[in-house]
């Protein structure tokens, strides 16, 4: 039996096989090649680690896989009818690209995450990565309208669609979103878009921002972004207000904060805030109910981003195994969709 690298090179050519640490990293040019690689893996009993830019991998990468496979090259927008409010793009498209394209048509793309130029659509979906705009728009999984994916054996299947409302068939995409590539490789995704605000205003304040959180919770302000980042000796709060001219004016009057940035500068500042506070690589997600936030903040260490309800933090080593009543079903679903165990389980 040949080693994985040789097999990969034979299948798609050496130019498309590089390395990710110790692992061979295959970069298929198109879906056809990608599926061929999965069929190869099935045939040769190889275990594949699917990834986008690999920014969420770190300690997991060296696990059980025989080779890594990136969807990076499968990029580009498949369909974007601005008047429909839905965008469909290939997995390797970066969020930065999608954001620029949709912003030009006055759409807001959720999730708003750190380092979007190195975050692929497929990667964000596989990681179930919600954005700093979570309080306003909810988690990413609510806005994935449909997916086309390749299963472990190279079969391409779809679920959902390109429509804002759809209950046709099972929501398979809900299983795939956040499955960290253990059930399939995402090829193409459709996302719901939101209306972009007319005016933006960014504020950054030291402290835990309790009164801000409270104002947002009771609807006195409806920020696009509201997040806490850890700084030396405590926290700082980032808030991106957005909406119609007078709505933002009203919110600004309410919060009475002088040092604000507007327009493109506001968005740039929001990006910087996200980049500064979002941990790199693999991180642990902790969560609490709104009333439990104070307690959770006191437990956080290191580089840490807090979205109301969810804390993304970098914690050394594997997370503690929590009580998970669903584990049996997770296993059975994995077994059903990837019976040959082609796709690595890193969760």
């Amino acid at each position: 039996m040949s080693d994985p690298r040789t097999l990969l090179e034979r299948e798609i050519g050496a130019a498309q096989v590089s390395s990710l640490g110790a692992l061979p990293l295959a970069e298929p040019r198109d879906e056809e090649q990608l599926c061929a690689l999965l069929r190869l893996a099935t045939r040769e009993h190889l275990c594949v680690l699917p990834l986008g830019f690999g920014t969420k991998l770190a300690w997991r990468a060296s696990s059980v896989a025989d080779f890594a496979l990136t969807t990076r090259a499968l990029s580009g927008i498949v369909e974007y009818e601005p008047d429909e409010g839905v965008i469909t793009a290939r997995a390797g498209t970066t969020l930065a690209h999608l954001r620029a394209r949709t912003a030009a048509e006055r759409h807001w793309l959720t999730p708003f995450v750190a380092r979007e130029e190195r975050t692929s659509l497929g990667g964000a979906i596989s990681a179930g990565q919600s954005g700093l705009d979570r309080l306003r728009f909810g988690p990413l999984r609510h806005h994935v309208l449909g997916l086309r994916v390749a299963l472990g054996d190279g079969t391409v299947v779809k679920s959902g669609g390109r429509l804002v409302k759809n209950v046709t068939g099972y929501d398979m995409h809900r299983l795939y979103t956040g499955a960290h590539g253990s059930l399939c490789v995402v090829l193409e995704a459709s996302l719901r878009l939101f209306s972009a605000p007319r005016r933006y205003a960014w504020l950054q304040v030291p402290g835990e921002g309790r009164e801000w959180l409270e104002a947002a919770w009771r609807g006195a302000i409806r920020p696009l972004i509201l997040a806490l980042g850890r700084v030396e000796n405590g926290w700082e709060l980032g808030v991106l207000l957005g909406g119609a001219e007078e709505v933002v004016a009203e919110e600004l009057a309410l919060v009475q904060h002088a040092a604000t940035l507007e327009g493109e500068a506001a968005l740039t500042a929001a990006r910087t805030f996200a980049n500064t506070h979002t941990p790199e690589g693999a991180c642990t997600r902790l969560e609490c109910l709104p009333t439990g936030l104070g307690e959770l903040l006191s437990r956080a260490r290191g580089r840490c981003l807090v979205l109301p309800g969810v804390v993304t933090a970098q914690i050394e080593g594997a997370p503690p195994a929590a009580e998970r009543p669903q584990r049996t079903l997770d296993r059975r679903i994995k077994q059903a969709l990837d019976p040959h165990g082609v796709l690595a389980e890193v969760g």
Partner: protein, 467 residues
């Protein structure tokens, strides 16, 4: 039914929890899809998770198929019984178990009626957002099974965005407790996958649901148009303008006539060819900003009048009229077939025209009342179930409508589900491989396919995964 099994079930549920005799089971033979009928062998009415689980363990041992039923208001046959199967009804699970005001969620039993939850939290300034037209009758458990929609889902999203956790009794009778309100799932998103799975993965007995803050200002608008075409175009305009009201509905003239002739008497103007029902919500400034976008668009599209509901009572009446429209159409004919399809929102006018033409070509009477903002069409076709020939024409029209919507980039269902009704159409949209993947995911939960068999996934696709 095996006497031993019956004895066992009776022991768990008592007489009040069983519906055995034929003349009492007959009303369970169909749900809102009235032409599809099958008498259940037995109807079980457990009162809680434990009784449900114990019954389902016995049914598992005896390999008996199970169909779950909430209030039986579904329109795709999701709760139509299956041959040799039992029905598990949630109508005696009506308790609200917990209301967490500060964290804005509620835990309820599956049989709680949708609107009862909103009433229960009204005083706290909260409500449960998904509002299917049948919300005064339908159960939250049924809403979860079907991923129900409703007018205000345009802004707030369908049921799935409001389900934080579930207690599920698996087909084997095990209790899977995923009831903790979570921001992100631990492991796979089983709660998200279960929602909308049409009762084929198990029975959800307890639901943890997100509650939404009641907006400080709500405005309800009626835009009156001479032509249905104009109203449809207007909706496309609104979407194009990135307007974000909380609901965008259209009612056509036939619907208005039926509603105004009914107990609902909502106050829709009979002189309009179509009415656009809009709702704006938020803080005063937000509503005003929205209004500034909407008003010129509506006028430019030819609305001859724009009215605002004067008070909450008028607003309530307008919505009651909208939500009772399906029932009100009962004045036109004994039975009503409510089609449910979704089309791209920029093609509304074209598709509404086409669906109307399809019905007219078959000599059928059709009325339109639909969630226009989401592109979710509901052509309502009147018919008489006893006239087999007419029923055949209705079903043929339904198929033609779906095909037209698919051809335009639409899909088979926006909120009613596939159930029995559209099972044949699944193969028009999905490949064998797509369906096989769904089958495999289902079999991970229910290897015997005993839960709601014969629904959603065509049998052929299922058989293929097994060979």
């Amino acid at each position: 039914m095996d006497p031993g099994l019956l004895r066992g079930l009776r022991e768990i549920l008592g007489e009040a929890g069983l519906v055995e005799r034929r003349n009492q089971r007959v009303p369970y033979e169909c749900d809102g899809l009235a032409f599809a009928r099958q008498l259940p062998e037995l109807v079980l009415l457990p009162r809680n998770t434990d009784e449900t689980a114990r019954c389902m363990r016995l049914l598992d041992e005896a390999h008996v198929p199970i169909v779950a039923r909430g209030a039986g208001t579904g329109l795709s046959g999701g709760a139509t019984p299956v041959e040799h199967g039992v029905l598990i009804g949630t109508s005696r699970m009506r308790a609200i178990l917990e209301i967490d005001e500060r964290n804005r969620f509620a835990r309820v039993q599956a049989g709680v009626v949708n609107v009862d939850l909103s009433h229960a939290v009204e005083q706290l300034g909260l409500f449960y957002a998904p509002d299917p037209s049948s919300q005064k009758a339908c159960t939250l458990g049924g809403n979860v099974a079907e991923n129900s929609g409703g007018p205000h889902c345009f802004r707030h999203g369908t049921t799935t965005r409001h389900v934080l956790g579930l207690v599920i009794v698996t087909p084997q009778g095990e209790v899977l407790d995923l009831s903790k309100a979570r921001a992100e799932p631990e492991g796979l998103d089983l709660v998200g996958f279960f929602t909308g799975s049409e009762g084929m993965l198990g029975v959800a007995t307890e639901l943890t649901l997100r509650l939404t803050q009641t907006p400080p200002v709500v405005e309800t608008w009626l835009a009156l148009f001479r032509e249905l075409d104009e109203a449809c175009e207007c909706v496309s305009d609104l979407i194009r303008a990135r307007a974000e009201p909380s609901a965008i509905e259209i009612l056509d003239q036939l619907t208005i006539e039926a509603v105004e002739a009914s107990v609902l008497r909502a106050g829709y103007p009979k002189e309009a060819g179509a009415v656009l029902l809009l709702e704006l919500e938020g803080r005063e400034s937000e509503v005003a900003a929205q209004a500034r976008i909407l008003e010129p668009l509506v006028r430019a599209r030819g609305a001859f009048e724009l009215r605002r509901a004067r008070d909450p009572a008028e607003r309530t009446r307008l919505w009651a009229g909208r939500k009772g429209a399906y029932g009100a159409m009962g004045r036109v004919a004994p039975d009503l077939y409510v089609c449910d399809a979704v089309v791209p929102r920029r093609k509304l006018r074209e598709l509404v025209r086409e669906t109307t033409a399809i019905c007219e070509a078959r000599g059928l009477k059709v009325a339109n009342v639909f969630h226009a903002g989401d592109g979710n069409l509901h052509p309502n076709i009147s018919y008489d179930r006893r006239d087999k020939e007419e029923l055949a024409r209705v079903l043929d029209a339904g198929d033609a409508i779906l095909k037209a919507c698919l051809a335009a980039g639409g899909t088979l269902s926006g909120e009613h589900g596939i159930g029995l009704e559209k099972i044949g159409a699944m193969e028009w949209l999905f490949t064998r491989e797509d369906l096989a993947a769904m089958c495999r995911a289902r079999e991970a939960w229910d290897p015997e396919c005993r839960m709601n068999p014969g629904k959603l996934i065509p049998m052929r696709a299922c058989m293929e995964t097994r060979t």
